[in-house]
């Protein structure tokens, strides 16, 4: 979770994009890590009942972790004198069961939209999951917003994920030791990412030129947090993988996306092409959204072939080869119910062969 302190208020952003002010809802029995920064002066995040306190500084991240053990409401104070209403910069920490927390995450309120703005709204949990979602993963709207920023700010132009760009690929950077141009090494933690974005020439990665623009003063703390969330999400050391989270009792889950598979689902496929398709699927990064766990930003593709798919406009369609092909090339044409039209357009990017390989691969994915 991300915390931003400012005169005289605490903002908390949850992994699913939900935002709250002067309150902190946390699940019981889960390690919670707070990544904190301030927009103005120094504050200090203090929960007396948990015996923890950490100053929150402008211009850098500090972090704090705890695991709440008893449900209830606790004081949250600003402990570092920060001006006129210092004594009103207080709030409540609400410790709830995992399920209640899950439910709370989907209540209406302030939400960080994928474009980074904050609007009143409601975040729906990914309907495909029954398990709880905690920690950053690709289903994390903070990360999605970050990814969009990454593209719109042009970062992606240099930091090509597959490598070979003007800047280093950012996959698996967070949490790893980086070697710098002067030969020293540094652990890529939150502050390293932050400084590298804002003033990259302070720490140049070995083998690269100091050509990256200075973003200091160009992007807000919110945006910085989103970029960070994105960079964390594309590292296999980022946060808790959803799988490691203990599963709570089943959710009263919202309407399932995919209509249960008719008996006719599945079908023959070309194994050769499918193997090539699998490689493409991984290399192109499709796998990042279309996770087999169902937690991704895109729907799960296993067992999809020849099944009925409910679309956003309320209609439904059989996922035949033509549908698969169209969805790859121009996914916006038919958007699956409960998903956002965020998949890139691959029309003109992929060769016909490649599309065929991908389609065969998807066909091969049976339950």
């Amino acid at each position: 979770m991300y915390v931003i302190g400012k005169q005289w208020m605490w903002h908390v952003q949850h992994a699913n994009g939900k935002r709250e002010n002067n309150e902190l809802h946390v699940p019981i029995g889960q390690p919670v890590r707070l990544i904190m920064t301030s927009q103005d002066v120094i504050h200090s995040f203090y929960i007396p009942a948990f015996r923890i306190k950490q100053d929150v500084l402008p211009g850098r991240y500090t972090s704090l972790w705890f695991e709440a053990t008893k449900p209830g409401e606790y004081h949250l104070f600003c402990a570092e004198y920060c001006g006129t209403e210092h004594s009103l910069m207080i709030g409540t920490v609400i410790v709830m069961s995992l399920n209640e927390y899950q439910a709370w995450l989907t209540t209406p309120g302030d939400v960080i939209m994928p474009d980074g703005s904050i609007q009143a709204g409601q975040v729906l949990l990914n309907p495909n999951t029954s398990g709880p979602q905690l920690g950053p993963s690709l289903s994390d709207p903070m990360a999605v917003a970050g990814e969009q920023l990454f593209t719109s700010l042009g970062c992606a132009g240099c930091h090509v994920e597959a490598g070979g760009g003007t800047g280093p690929s950012l996959r698996n950077v967070f949490g790893y030791t980086q070697t710098l141009a002067d030969g020293s090494t540094v652990l890529a933690d939150e502050n390293y990412i932050r400084t590298s974005i804002l003033t990259s020439m302070k720490q140049i990665v070995q083998g690269y030129q100091p050509v990256m623009p200075v973003y200091e003063g160009q992007i807000s703390d919110d945006q910085l947090n989103q970029l960070l969330a994105y960079i964390v999400s594309i590292s296999n050391r980022g946060g808790n993988a959803p799988a490691s989270v203990p599963v709570a009792e089943p959710q009263p889950s919202p309407a399932p996306t995919s209509v249960p598979a008719p008996p006719s689902a599945g079908g023959p496929f070309d194994a050769d092409l499918a193997t090539k398709g699998e490689q493409l699927f991984n290399n192109l990064g499709c796998v990042a959204c279309h996770q087999d766990s169902g937690l991704g930003l895109g729907p799960r593709l296993r067992g999809l072939y020849n099944r009925q798919v409910a679309l956003a406009d309320g209609s439904s369609i059989t996922a035949d080869a033509a549908y698969l092909q169209e969805s790859i090339l121009n996914s916006a044409a038919k958007v699956v119910k409960d998903y956002n039209p965020i998949m890139p357009v691959y029309q003109g990017q992929l060769k016909d062969d490649e599309v065929r390989q991908l389609v065969e691969y998807i066909k091969s994915l049976t339950e």
């Binding site: 002066v41 850098r60 500090t62 104070f77 402990a79 210092h86 004594s87 009103l88």
Partner: protein, 551 residues
């Protein structure tokens, strides 16, 4: 009891007119007169700081902010902190008692640089005027710690004026330190070897070292904040490319040693008092002397204990924590030695002794809670809560102010030639002790329960402790006012003291009270160690004891 019994002395003048008389004080280069100037001005600032504290305490009786606005409240506690730290605690003992006593105790005619000494007082007053003007024209709301970037970029109050005040007063402190060091090195009477010096001198020597070495760092830090504030040069504010923690490092590099500027001279006073009122040579003279130096040195290495939660690395936290524990050793050595001095001494519970004994108890509480705070794990919870507030009031009020009051009473006959009213003295010492504990002990409790410091409004569950604390503060305030009354009265009606009312050792007691302008008729020659009380003083005293005897 008539004035005629008091001989010509440093307070008498041959001035014919009022202007002459005023000039003879304001342009004096006599260390004793300068000490009196300091006494008056420092007490004025003490009362002002006390007034601000009272307003803060009254506001806190209720959880809501009903007496004043949040801005006003913030200005009040800042005024309190700035005045008390920079204009009272730091100069109090060195500038008043040090000025008066250093030359007398070492058998010198004056300080090494009498004019510099007068300049120090003017700098102190100049700094004070800046601080007062800042307070009157809108106040300042940064806290005495002036943390950036709040102070440098965000606060809309008289930061610059106040900082200039502290900056200027810093020079007064540096010059006084310089003066003492040179004086102690160069102007000791024949035979006054280093290990015959009274411990008060050792304490002031150690203090002077800190004043000279640490104060410039504060000056620089404050100057940098002013530069950033005025010219928006990025030094501390990350929005301008600065580092907000840099200020904390610079500030505490001075201000931790500064807490020893406040306590070391107090410890020196206590050594004098304990020895004089036990009529025994102080136990472990060398240990006490060197522990002052050890505290002064170690004090420079622990500033990071104010920054455990600032995002300082865990490793530096550990090192600072360890060195902080070391500071407790020389402090404890002193306490043990004072206690050992009492053992089999001929103890008389005169007012100065009451303050000294109060000091020992309160300083132990203050010091031990300092060790709690030095433990990173504990500090994370209680830092920036009332626990810290209680800790430093136990050492600064329970320590320094108790010693200041004890010292004032002890040397009052020497300064003025008259005795104060002993009964009232004892009563007010007790009132101070009770009021003090009632004010600050509840603060340990509420701090531990999580009550943050510098809160204008607070959750209701803490009210009971605040009410207790304010009640205690009223008693404490009374305890400070009573001495002002009877001490002032004693100037007119007090018994003539004579040269040595306490039958104490020390060169200052060998001359008339008040001392003549030139201090010693002949340069004294020292042949004895300090505190040369007869071995069997206790037995002698008990043999010759009779109801109403002097000691």
């Amino acid at each position: 009891m008539s004035t005629s019994a008091i001989p010509q002395n440093y307070t008498s003048t041959r001035a014919d007119s009022a202007t002459e008389w005023i000039k003879s004080w304001l342009l004096t280069v006599d260390h004793k007169r300068i000490a009196i100037l300091y006494l008056l001005s420092i007490n004025f600032f003490f009362l002002l700081g006390g007034l601000a504290a009272s307003l803060v305490r009254v506001e806190l009786v209720t959880p809501q902010g009903d007496l004043m606005t949040a801005d006003m409240y913030n200005r009040m506690f800042t005024l309190h902190g700035v005045i008390m730290v920079f204009f009272f605690l730091i100069p109090a003992i060195p500038a008043v008692m040090g000025n008066f006593l250093v030359p007398l105790m070492i058998g010198a005619r004056d300080l090494a640089f009498p004019r510099l000494n007068l300049l120090s007082w003017y700098l102190y007053m100049g700094g004070g005027v800046f601080a007062l003007v800042a307070a009157i024209t809108g106040g300042v709301d940064t806290g005495w710690t002036f943390y950036t970037p709040f102070s440098s970029s965000y606060s809309n109050s008289n930061v610059i004026l106040t900082m200039s005040g502290a900056f200027i007063m810093g020079f007064s402190s540096i010059l006084t330190g310089l003066n003492f060091i040179v004086t102690i090195h160069k102007m000791r009477a024949p035979g006054m070897t280093w290990f015959r010096l009274p411990l008060f001198i050792w304490a002031n020597y150690a203090t002077s070292l800190i004043q000279i070495l640490a104060t410039p760092v504060l000056g620089i830090a404050l100057l940098l904040v002013m530069v950033e504030r005025v010219w928006r040069v990025g030094i501390f504010d990350p929005a301008l490319g600065g580092d907000p923690l840099l200020f904390q490092h610079l500030f505490w590099f001075y201000s931790h040693p500064a807490v020893y500027i406040m306590i070391l001279p107090a410890m020196g006073v206590i050594s004098e008092l304990i020895s004089a009122f036990s009529r025994k040579r102080i136990f472990g003279y060398e240990f006490i002397a060197f522990s002052s130096i050890a505290i002064a040195v170690l004090g420079f290495l622990v500033w990071g204990h104010h920054m455990f939660v600032s995002s300082q690395s865990v490793y530096s936290g550990l090192v600072f924590s360890f060195i902080t524990m070391l500071v407790a050793i020389p402090s404890a050595i002193k306490v043990f030695n004072w206690t050992a001095t009492l053992y089999k001494g001929s103890i008389s519970y005169r007012t100065p002794m009451l303050y000294a004994l109060g000091f020992i108890g309160l300083f132990i509480i203050g010091g031990l809670t300092g060790i709690f705070l030095g433990v990173v794990a504990v500090d994370i919870h209680v830092t920036d809560t009332y626990f810290v507030v209680a800790h430093f009031h136990y050492v600064m009020v329970g320590g320094t102010i108790m010693a200041y009051l004890g010292g004032i009473h002890y040397w009052w006959p020497k300064m003025t030639g008259r005795m104060y009213n002993e009964a009232w003295g004892a009563i007010s010492a007790l009132v101070v002790f009770v009021g003090f504990n009632m004010t600050f002990f509840p603060q340990f409790v509420m701090g531990y329960l999580g009550m943050p410091r510098r809160y204008h409004v607070y959750p209701e569950e803490f009210q009971i402790y605040h009410v207790l604390s304010t009640a205690g503060a009223s008693i404490l305030g009374l305890g400070f006012i009573i001495p002002i009354i009877y001490l002032t009265l004693s100037l007119f009606v007090g018994k003539v003291a004579g040269p040595n009312p306490w039958a104490a050792t020390g060169l200052e007691w060998s001359i008339a009270s008040p001392p003549p302008t030139h201090n010693f008729d002949q340069t004294p020659v020292v042949t004895e160690e300090a505190y040369a009380y007869p071995e069997d003083a206790a037995a002698q005293d008990s043999d010759s004891w009779q109801a109403g005897s002097h000691l």
